[in-house]
Symmetry: C2
Subunit: 330 residues, 2 copies
């Protein structure tokens, strides 16, 4: 294995090809080293006149914890992984933030695990900012960053590795209820688990570095042209989803209404370890997914496999996602 | 709509980004033109030590013919499209050839609709050679081109737009039975439909331009390191599939054992217009798909949506493909 660098993993082949197509391409020659790199992880589709760019941050792979699904046994989780042709005793959770160009505003919805995570994860995650650039999107041109909730995989990309604002010219919009809860010193003082203490302190680390310059937003508001906020509380106290609509096009950007579809779309009654209020998260999930089925509405899932765009149908006692076929033209 | 060019559609963003990242990226700036282009269509995965690169040629969209499924009514086909959340009265058929780097040989399996088709299709198809380059693969480094059968979307990419060999240094392997059938003047003279006459004359156009310099191969042979041919006759008289195996890894590269999975994986008894012998093609399809289910074997489908890699399970009276989650790292 060669050492991974951001350039090699994400942009190496295309950069080299752009400069000297034939010479560079010989790296794939037989009896020569294998190419060893994946394509840049972005994908674009239209919602009416809006352009949505899905920008993967990569994924996090870890041994399946005993309590990943808090109301089920580990064997049940392994059963669901096997049913989805996934390896047992292991989880790979992908991150798929999106950027919406409304024509008048460039809006990033969530931001990934942060560039600093690239080295830490040996290139598996922290890819968002490099993929954003590969997609031709200048983060300094982003007008609005719309945060769904305050978990690290959604907010850490707000900062550069040296803790400066990554989106230098953007207004940062945060859910009012989320801000109120996580910035409340009383709430923080009442936390008893290391994990929840960590969520609080990480949120403060990020927003303090931004001088707490954020704009709180309410549910049911058009927060940008054609982008409306929807309260989907439960995963966190102020968790928000977003409906992107333009012309006849519409997509439901769910954030963490579910985690991995193979577990929680198939089994909406399962409570993820990351769901702060499992019962409320389940109620929200069932309500949202019944609506997605009834309205045949596209869903963009933050923890769905890239490019993370699907229709939902009922299946057994739960649901099943039907990935939208990849479109090789825009 | 702006006029499409190969450069703009396939490489524009990455080329510009590579040269001047920030300046070029401002094209995505809000109140500026939308990016208007899709990412380069290639995806890479490992099969043991082999590297497989899926390289999309794009897709062909056309009004649903009355007889696209020869043994069913148009309404049935529209029903299957609706069940897959696809538009009715319309078909979009994607092309997903692959290239396998075995470490000692670089092997292209099928070649797409040809570069000349890029302009003709307004950029929707004919993307293969540009995407191959974007993937860092020099077509002059390809050692073997392995042809599954002689339909134009599999062989036209063997030639450049000026009818020269596109793979200058490759040995072209063709199924023995396919060669024997389509190069037989008697068989050609007995064709009665314009379509079949066209298949014959196109095959001769392509192979004549190559000076008929091809190497016939038989089923059940290791035609390249870890790549074995399998007879899957029916779609055409000599139609061949390929098993790529290395270490514990294995994938079944099916070519046209099915066309669109939404129609023919769900309904293996449906006969596609393109199946020359519908009954034999169905027998082959059922045999192959029962095997894929029993062995939990990955299938790479030429007409599956990119990146066209899935597991197969039984579903109702047919099968269902479970796409393999996109891996943002190799």
């Amino acid at each position: 294995m060669t050492t991974l660098t951001r350039r090699a993993v994400l942009a190496g082949a295309t950069v080299a090809t752009a400069l000297t197509p034939l010479a560079a391409a010989s790296s794939a020659q037989a009896a020569a080293p294998l190419a060893g790199k994946q394509t840049a992880g972005w994908y674009r589709y239209k919602v009416g006149n809006h352009e949505v760019t899905v920008v993967t941050d990569g994924l996090n792979t870890f041994p399946l914890p005993d309590t990943f699904v808090t109301n089920m046994k580990k064997d049940d989780v392994n059963g669901a992984l096997a049913a989805a042709y996934m390896e047992k005793d292991k989880l790979s959770i992908p991150y798929s933030p999106v950027v919406v160009n409304t024509g008048s505003k460039l809006v990033a919805i969530d931001t990934g695990t942060g560039e600093a995570n690239f080295e830490r994860s040996k290139g598996a995650a922290g890819q968002y900012h490099a993929n954003l650039k590969a997609a031709g999107i200048d983060r300094n041109a982003v007008d609005i960053v719309l945060i769904s909730h305050f978990h690290g995989d959604h907010i850490n990309g707000l900062l550069t590795p040296d803790n400066k604002p990554a989106f230098g010219n953007a207004e940062i919009l945060v859910p009012t209820a989320e801000w109120k809860y996580f910035m409340d010193d009383g709430e923080m003082s009442r936390q008893t688990t290391e994990r929840m203490k960590g969520v609080f302190s990480n949120a403060r680390r990020v927003f303090d570095a931004l001088g707490r310059k954020v704009t709180p937003y309410e549910p049911g508001k058009e927060v940008a042209p054609g982008i409306t906020s929807v309260a989907t509380y439960g995963h966190t106290p102020g968790h928000m989803s977003h409906i992107v609509a333009s012309g006849a096009g519409k997509v439901y950007v769910q954030a963490d209404v579910t985690n991995l579809p193979a577990l929680f779309v198939r089994n909406p009654g399962w409570h993820a370890f990351f769901d702060q209020d499992g019962k409320m998260a389940e109620e929200t999930r069932r309500k949202v997914y019944d609506m997605l089925v009834a309205e045949k509405l596209l869903v963009q899932g933050f923890h769905y496999p890239f490019p993370a765009l699907a229709y939902i149908e009922k299946s057994g006692s739960g649901y099943r996602e039907i990935p939208v076929p990849w479109n090789p033209v825009l």
